[in-house]
Symmetry: D2
Subunit: 395 residues, 4 copies
């Protein structure tokens, strides 16, 4: 190996869905992008010895550990990538940052505002020592989103007055679907609001450069009890006759006032739900501006609809841009024109941007402060909903 | 003429956009449907002598009048069709009903709840004497809507839990567009809310058989002053340098709780706007149920998207049904399969249903009471918006 | 009636599907367009006394006749509108033209090239005396087609190199569907080729200004025998056990070389079929040029897809133009932006253009010579198919 | 490493676009699928020392070689993966097979029928010794294609009567685009026909289980001369004033008769072009059957349109199935419902199927015999085109 780039030795905590996605990012990014440092998939961490070894083998990490503190103490580890559920983010991230590790933390940043605040403080302390931190809102790195952002920044939409942001899934449609940890507020923090609504908020703020300043929100739980899976039965087990209580929102709606950026003074309408029958992963963003509009749907993630209101009368319409051209963000490094990329590519792009920031000594985005802000938005929505949808400012 | 059907002599008040649409309905319905009575386009009424005569000739009415009271007093008139702006609906409709004329009144029923209440009382008095009344929510008569309603009634959607209802237009996008009477609260009653939001509310209630029980609403005016057209200059005149104040909402959002019908307990998210850049006439309704879903967009008015959640796993998806089959409402009377109908056909269908109801001695839908209910919804949205989006029950 | 425009008294021969469509055109055009002459729906002609009287009443004509020669001899008739099956076009049209009547003849112009030649000769004789003639290729008058043609003429597509033109229907998909006159070569002339393929050829030539110069064709009949309907049983009768032989093509494919106009040197790929399962009325035209492209589908007849290859790299894509703006052909006379028109509107536009041509003393398009040319193309396709798809020049 | 699966040591020849895609397949497949053997990315081969070493590093192979014969002679190599241009396929593949290596050969199998015949003979000799061979028509492994094939095999389409198969790209639209080796018949064999038309033929045969029996074809070259790139200037150089002659087809059209399988007796219409302005990678397949239809477009590769003609009248329509469910081929191993995969995933699936076949001692598909058949189809199209589109049987 004549490669003289520095190495970045990575430890990843967690090996579920996000662990698989992050592993694919770490593995693939260096194969398609000229990175300024070489990421090494050093350690994967999980509590269960057998499962973590299985994940190590499947995902291709060099070593497995069962205690995350081992990698915090390991001087050979440069980056800690946190893919655990939200309730453990704060403890791990703060320890890692204090130990001088760069941290990539999966979204949401934390389950509570207080935790997120502590994490942000830790990130700011660490930044002063050149330690970088980043929240994993991966959809920012979908090329169509990056391209949309460029159009907004170039003024192609003019003054953005209205925003529509929906994240529609339908996997809770069946009322006999089982109770899971994601429906338990203690473990999951919130329901659709935090799990997928957070993405909608982040994308709107990322695209417009604006921030939600106040919200009026509503939450609903449509199915209040769901069958418990028998003990030790696991996901493939038959449902028991006992039922557990759903303690999170099934769906969330909120109206928001935006301030700053290109959507200063705009109103946004948000919805996050797991009951939108037939919608599988429809994260839809539409920005309506005085000079143009964009519309995006994650179910067609390689496309962006752009409306140019300055085109001649009679020729205006939404243009379906297939976002696979070398001019589009990240795409010059993949396949020829017209060849689609998939969900996982956003994680490769996340790795590219994080490694580049670490190597160049700059702070990657979104920061922990950005993640904290999102938590505050979610918290304000919950408080507004509890207060009869009263308008609630974001602190 | 060996036609032995009774005649229905119609007088239409007003000759603007709606006058043109209603005329096309009266003229065309008898050519494609076997009506139990023969409508006769007797009198058109307008205040301006020259303009009403021009409209008479263009629209093909037998006679023109300049005072609407003339037709109220005319014993030869059976039906009064009111196409004037909302501020004159109440006076005309009540006079006509009291004089024993059947009444078709364009939506919205009135500009205020009080007027709508008086009209509804008049309609109920008249109904006791066999006089019929109907509000012109024409989109109920789009075949795709009728077909969607049938699917809902047959239980194909199961329990409807969520509703999305948007009416998106963009003709106010340009901040230099002129001030018009539609932007003046005194004349227009409200802005997007009443003009197009009313359609969204009516369709949701019509499709689900449910009623909005309470709302949390927000209104916004994005452009507060617009150029005044010079006096006597008219629509083709150049804009003056003076600006008038917009006194209606530019856009309205509201969340609603539904009760009764197939969407009992559901939450609906509504938006009505004239600032949705690039959206020309996008009245979009999506109903998410436990067994299925439908999605409709008026910009593709000959299509209905239907998702059957009881189909085998792996074969589910939204089916794009081209609603031009003889099995679809009204369509057997038009063209062969695959041949589109347009905006105006809903007005022919309105005529078919009104004439049929009159001839058969039944009450057509939507009734004035339905129209009053819609006014109460709009009023509650305005009161909620004025009260910080507080949840406001519909009386 | 103070109208001082001249009248044009029309006699329509035939009262089937096309009779209904033409009647709607004659009835509606004067209501939305300021015509230079006033069409009068004078006489409808059909052989069956009872049926023609029924059609007269339904379609709203003043008088019914059972012999088309009566209207040829009637000095009060100015225009003869021929809506009969193709085998009678020649005799009626030639008689009408020789009698000094303007003629609108439904497509295809005739069932044979020889008949079409005789008709064209008659039209040319008549033209010398100021008598006008026109073939009813109504789809030329769909606004999206008119707008596409304008884009082509303005050079927005550059040199057109490839054409795709398909007309896909599926009403013969079911092999147990009955034998009808349309499947009998003696009556219908040809099958999909002449019935719907003719539209594809006409639109391509109209849009590009080019002509098909030579073709290589293939015909197929997939279901060779179909159930005969019992005598006197009619369309609602049950199928008999006897089967009749299909003698026309079920589907036709041909490749063509174009010459002249904007597609000089281009290759076109054509398909016409009634077996395209799920396609109801999909007349699809795509023109691929050096500077741009257009794509049209009659199933979305209010839309045109336009690709501008001169737009900046990264911003190119097909723009979905909703063809309902006042800038679009014919649309200023209908409804506001975003309000769809339907199939029948093209017949109103046909009336507008014919009446305008007659009043202004100009020759309308498409001419009988254009119709003859289309017949020659269809004939060449049949001869090529019979000759092993050998390239066959259009005379 | 406690993995007790056998290893499969792979040597890949070539490192261009296909080398990158195959590398991604070899690297990724074992991370998402439980393979019965463990592929090892042993050797990458390329003629240029510097470039192959760069590719080795980027793509992650263990060792680089500059002479492909070195891997043929290497007893440690189990699989040879041929990603070179078509003119070298025959020599390498035959040598590898004769040396007992399993072979994956990128499509098209060869540039001539004679070469393909020799390769097929070698593959059959090798098969007798348990050596496997496969042609890389990767699009067979797109899940939507696999799912469509299942629907066809289950009889859901009934008798397929018509096929539409187009592969539309537009990268030659600009007549000033440079001359490249792909436009030189000596190097590329043919143009659009072999490069992309071959995919369309393979997919149609794969989906239907039928074979093309005879073709009537047309070829065209629209731009006959293109600017030469200066010597030694490379792809980034400025175009010289000299122009080279294009010796391959720019576009190909052919009509085909199918025999056997589910489309016995059907007619297929094919087009392959690089001049379809605005179409980036539109491989479109539509199968029209007596009981249903499917439509696929590679530009929406995660979707399949399915029309069920046995659904109740009025409910029929194309259903847009998002092919990301665990019931769909390969998809259970990737991401949750609604999360898209991309172009490269088909190469992972190719690896899965090849490794599984090798480990289980079965012959993978498509075989070299399948590849030879495709070459014979392409050859017949060229001969038909040269013979005035005369129908030409496939040997």
């Amino acid at each position: 190996m004549t490669d003289d780039r520095p190495q970045l030795r990575v430890a990843m905590i967690g090996y579920g869905f996000m662990g698989a996605a992050h592993s694919q990012g770490w593995r693939t990014a260096p194969r398609f992008f000229d990175l300024p440092a070489e990421p090494v998939m050093s350690v994967i961490v999980g509590r269960d010895t057998v499962r973590v070894e299985d994940a190590r083998r499947r995902f291709g990490w060099q070593r497995a550990e069962t205690d995350w503190r081992a990698v915090i103490d390991d001087p050979d580890i440069d980056v800690v990538d946190i893919c655990t559920p939200g309730d453990s983010h704060a403890e791990i991230a703060i320890a890692a940052l204090d130990a001088g590790k760069h941290v990539l933390c999966e979204k949401p940043l934390a389950n509570t505002v207080a935790e997120a605040e502590a994490m942000t403080a830790a990130a700011e302390r660490a930044a002063a020592r050149g330690i970088r931190s980043m929240v994993g809102f991966s959809y920012r790195r979908v090329p169509a989103i990056g391209f949309a952002r460029r159009l907004v920044q170039e003024g192609r939409l003019g003054a953005i007055r209205q925003v529509r942001a929906l994240y529609l899934q339908d996997w809770l449609r069946d009322e006999d679907g089982p109770m899971t940890w994601r429906l338990d507020k203690t473990l999951a923090g919130s329901g659709s609001l935090g799990d997928i609504g957070a993405h909608a908020v982040d994308l709107v703020e990322h695209l417009t450069g604006s921030q939600l300043g106040a919200v009026s929100g509503t939450l609903a739980t449509f199915v209040e009890e769901r069958p418990l899976l028998g003990e030790g039965v696991g996901l493939s087990g038959t449902a028991s006759t006992e039922r557990g209580t759903v303690t999170v929102d099934d769906a969330a709606w909120f109206t928001a006032r935006l301030a700053g950026g290109e959507a200063d003074g705009a109103i946004g309408a948000f919805e996050a739900t797991r009951y939108a029958t037939g919608r599988k992963n429809a994260l839809r963003i539409e920005l309506s501006g005085s000079r143009g509009a964009i519309a995006f749907d994650l179910e067609e993630m390689n496309e962006l609809q752009f409306y140019d209101a300055t085109a001649p009368a009679g020729e205006q319409g939404f243009t379906r841009i297939i976002v696979t051209e070398p001019e589009h963000p990240y795409m010059a490094n993949w396949w020829p024109t017209g060849h689609a990329i998939g969900y996982e590519h956003a994680f490769s792009h996340e790795v590219v941007d994080l490694v580049t920031a670490i190597a160049s000594g700059t702070d990657p985005e979104p920061s922990f402060a950005d993640g904290l802000h999102i938590q505050r938005v979610l918290d304000a929505v919950e408080r507004s909903a509890a207060d009869g949808s009263a308008w609630t400012p974001i602190p």
